[in-house]
């Protein structure tokens, strides 16, 4: 069969792109707040101010001529990530995991010369990866030693947890695992695997790749069925606090677990995708409507997380 009927989608409470844009993003996300999440540098500084843990910022490159001294500045760093501040969808992110003979080794194992690094940063500054093609700045931040828990589940890239936060309530979550097809990136449309997570327990639900259900990781061969995320309430709390930090009503928070299984905020997204519904097997709409129907919103992030843990148990 080619697809699913409109009625089927409606019964499952699937949120469509148009409805998301008009009824949620358009209604709950104020335009003037967008830069807070569209610019990773701003997010990072904001997180610092609110005491939300995030990967450490090494330095920022704002002008082309600063590239001349880049080699010395990178000298002490063995692993680091270069990101465009205003990039979207993981574009323009270059992760260097090691140094060898003066060359930079990416997570994919390719070795790059300093010229390549310079060119990449130069492209970022020119705005090649930025949302509207506007000039950008390059962020050099620490390489996250991600939790060993996920080593078997990801190909090269850092697996992250995407949580959709509506009005400060974490409503749906999934784990995103990079694959060879996705070039080590955790973006579902590029072929990363999405594993739905039970919002109450952090236990895996089901997995999809390219919108098709799957049960094992194609590159590592690990079964994707019984993943359990540690420190789940802590992760939810972190996500919930992102609302207080930005004021945006409908966001996707990308969170990673570092080597000590501490959650770090990687980035925020004011236009989170809809594929998360596929990984959960349920639509977002019933949960969004539940929040919209609350007579009184909970003021503290902890209270909101508690509300979710109590009310969103799976049927």
């Amino acid at each position: 069969m080619w697809g699913i009927g409109i009625r089927g989608l409606r019964d499952l409470g699937i949120l469509g792109m148009n409805a998301r844009n008009i009824n949620y993003i358009g209604r709950y996300n104020q335009r003037k707040l967008y830069p807070l999440v569209d610019d990773k540098l701003k997010t990072k500084k904001l997180a610092q101010r609110y005491g939300i843990p995030a990967p450490k910022l090494h330095f920022v490159i704002r002008e082309q001529h600063r590239l001349r001294t880049i080699e010395q500045r990178l000298h002490n760093l063995s692993g680091f990530a270069i990101k465009p501040a205003k990039g979207s969808g993981g574009k323009g992110i270059l992760v260097i995991s090691a140094r060898k003979d003066g060359k930079f080794i990416t997570t994919a194992g390719t070795s790059l010369g300093i010229d390549h690094i310079k060119r990449h940063i130069s492209n970022i500054l020119a705005g090649l990866y930025s949302l509207a093609g506007t000039p950008d700045v390059a962020i050099i931040e620490e390489l996250i030693e991600f939790s060993d828990l996920f080593r078997a589940y990801s190909y090269q890239g850092v697996p992250d947890i995407r949580i959709v936060v509506f009005q400060g309530y974490p409503v749906m979550a999934m784990l995103r695992l990079a694959t060879r097809t996705s070039n080590g990136k955790a973006n579902l449309h590029q072929g990363a695997i999405g594993v739905g997570l039970d919002i109450c327990s952090g236990m895996s639900l089901k997995a999809v790749q390219f919108s098709v259900p799957t049960t094992i990781h194609p590159d590592t061969g690990s079964a994707l069925e019984h993943i359990s995320i540690p420190h789940w309430p802590e992760i939810l709390l972190l996500a919930a606090r992102c609302y207080d930090m930005t004021g945006l009503g409908y966001i996707g928070a990308d969170i990673v677990l570092d080597g000590a299984n501490n959650p770090l905020l990687l980035e925020l997204n004011a236009r989170p995708g809809l594929a998360i519904q596929l990984t959960n097997g349920y639509g977002l709409l019933p949960r969004l409507r539940h929040i919209e129907g609350l007579k009184r919103r909970h003021a503290s992030a902890q209270a909101r997380v508690d509300h979710i843990l109590k009310n969103f148990t799976l049927p």
């Binding site: 080619w2 409109i6 089927g8 989608l9 060119r119 020119a126 919108s211």
Partner: protein, 504 residues
């Protein structure tokens, strides 16, 4: 209440669009469908006479209001003659004059006529009181007998007229009729008899409009005044009512042709039919109205052509909006498809498509080489612009050499747009792989083709230019779709994995 306000606005736009279009259609008579043809009759009166070297004045009775026909485009051809149209109490006459002329002379008067049921009001002027009619002794007796007999054999004015016409045209005529006819020609006789019987009657002249007729004479018709109006009667068959193709030339009373200063004058008529587009006709004959301000045909032709293309843009935008919101096709650059579609309009679809794909593919190849040079973004795109230009020039020259007119197809593509497309595709390829390039590139081309189909639809081109207010409807549609919160068609496929969940 902003929701209600929004829908009201859309509704108002929609209704205004339709209403204005309809009003303008009614007033300017520009057809709603393109290519609609109408038959126009070209009627020509040819006046010929021999001038005797003295001042000449020619006066020809010309049509005033013609029932069932709309006339326009009056013209005369009369070398050396002064010409004017005199209006004498609603009866128009064409008057030619010259100080001196000799030898055979030919003057022409032409007009165009188009059948129109509502045109040309009927002449309702009541008849003059019947003037005394004189017969010679013997004729008077015959006339009275004929009338008495006809009266006896009929039950109304109309049937009496028919009876008389039948008798006058009968092959075996009664003695009385034969006597009367020996003095008066049939039509005049009928007029005289009827007036004698106190039925107000007059003779009018006209032409039967038939394809390609020459050297015609005006055909007389009888009109009797009955029940407060003039009723036309065919003096040979007795049929009443105006035949559909009868073009009333003169409504009686005055002479058809007066010539002073010439001899052997004669007027003859020629008729031919032309088929012209209804739009052309509307443009030449439309009366000035409230909407003349919006008539774009007043503009210089170049400006018209530019507006023609620009007015197609909303349609392209409509296609893009529909494809993106309702269908959910992803394109590279939101409005790039419209620009490609516009170029397709100039090149026609297949050659345009082929050369576009070829240029972009070749450009991608060059671009991949370019990435080794580590150029800044703006410089790199500018380089691609120049390279694309070179490709275009070379392919035009090459096409010209081998005799294929690719020149036409290639040069219409907006170079900058192509350069950006190449850059975007190339980045897409590096970041997301060829699959995404195919999806977005294919999506763009598909939407471009759809927009092209819509914009090259003759009806669309016709309506958007002649009725620009139709854009209000398009605006309403676009705004309406802009508030659509339902699923996109592609989402039905995207979420197909959830079927299992539904137990299907």
């Amino acid at each position: 209440m902003p929701r209600a306000l929004f829908y009201t606005l859309i509704f108002v736009l929609f209704v205004t669009g339709i209403g204005l279009t309809w009003l303008r259609h009614i007033q300017t008579e520009i057809p709603l469908l393109p290519g609609k043809q109408v038959t126009v009759w070209l009627v020509e009166a040819r006046v010929a006479f021999n001038a005797s070297g003295n001042p000449v004045e020619v006066s020809l009775d010309i049509p005033d209001t013609v029932p069932g026909y709309r006339t326009f485009n009056e013209q005369t051809a009369s070398p050396g003659y002064g010409f004017s149209v005199l209006d004498m109490n609603g009866d128009r006459r064409a008057v030619w004059s010259i100080r001196s002329a000799s030898g055979p002379q030919t003057l022409y008067y032409k007009l165009m006529a188009r059948a129109d049921q509502d045109a040309g009001s009927e002449n309702l002027t009541p008849p003059h009181p019947v003037v005394e009619i004189f017969w010679e002794e013997s004729q008077g007796i015959a006339a009275r007998q004929v009338l008495a007999q006809a009266h006896a054999q009929s039950d109304s004015r109309l049937s009496m007229c028919r009876e008389l016409i039948k008798q006058v045209n009968a092959t075996e005529k009664s003695q009385n009729i034969a006597l009367l006819l020996s003095h008066t020609p049939p039509v005049l006789l009928l007029e005289k008899l009827l007036n004698y019987a106190n039925i107000p009657t007059r003779i009018v002249n006209g032409l039967y409009l038939e394809e390609n007729r020459h050297n015609l004479e005006l055909e007389p018709m009888l009109e009797i005044y009955t029940a407060q109006r003039w009723l036309m009667l065919d003096p040979t068959t007795g049929q009443h009512g105006r035949p559909d193709n009868f073009f009333l030339w003169d409504q009686g009373g005055t002479s058809i042709l007066d010539v002073s200063g010439g001899r052997n004058s004669r007027v003859s008529f020629g008729i031919s039919a032309q088929t012209i587009s209804a739009k052309q006709l509307a443009l030449t004959t439309a009366p000035p109205g409230h909407f003349t301000f919006f008539d774009m045909h007043k503009l210089p032709v170049e400006e018209q052509n530019m507006l023609k293309v620009m007015l197609l843009l909303p349609l392209g935008a409509l296609a893009v909006v529909f494809m993106s919101i309702i269908i959910g096709i992803r394109t590279s650059g939101t409005f790039m498809p419209i620009l490609i579609a516009l170029s397709f309009l100039q090149t026609s679809l297949l050659p345009g498509l082929l050369s576009f794909v070829a240029i972009v593919a070749f450009g991608l190849l060059l671009r991949s080489y370019l990435s080794h040079f580590n150029l800044l973004l703006v410089a790199r795109i500018s380089t691609i612009v120049v390279l694309v230009l070179v490709i275009v020039v070379i392919s035009s020259l090459f096409g010209y050499q081998i005799g294929v007119n690719t020149r036409m197809s290639v040069t219409f593509f907006p170079v900058i747009i192509i350069a950006w497309t190449i850059e975007r595709m190339s980045i897409l390829w590096e970041d997301e792989g060829p699959r995404e390039v195919l999806i977005q590139g294919g999506g763009s081309l598909f939407v471009a083709i759809c927009a092209f189909m819509l914009m090259s639809w003759p009806l669309a081109a016709h309506l958007s230019f002649n009725f620009p207010e139709i854009n209000l409807i398009i605006l309403a549609l676009i705004m309406g779709m802009g508030s659509y919160t339902g699923y996109k068609l592609t989402e039905l496929r995207r979420f197909r994995a959830l079927r299992l969940k539904l137990g299907l």
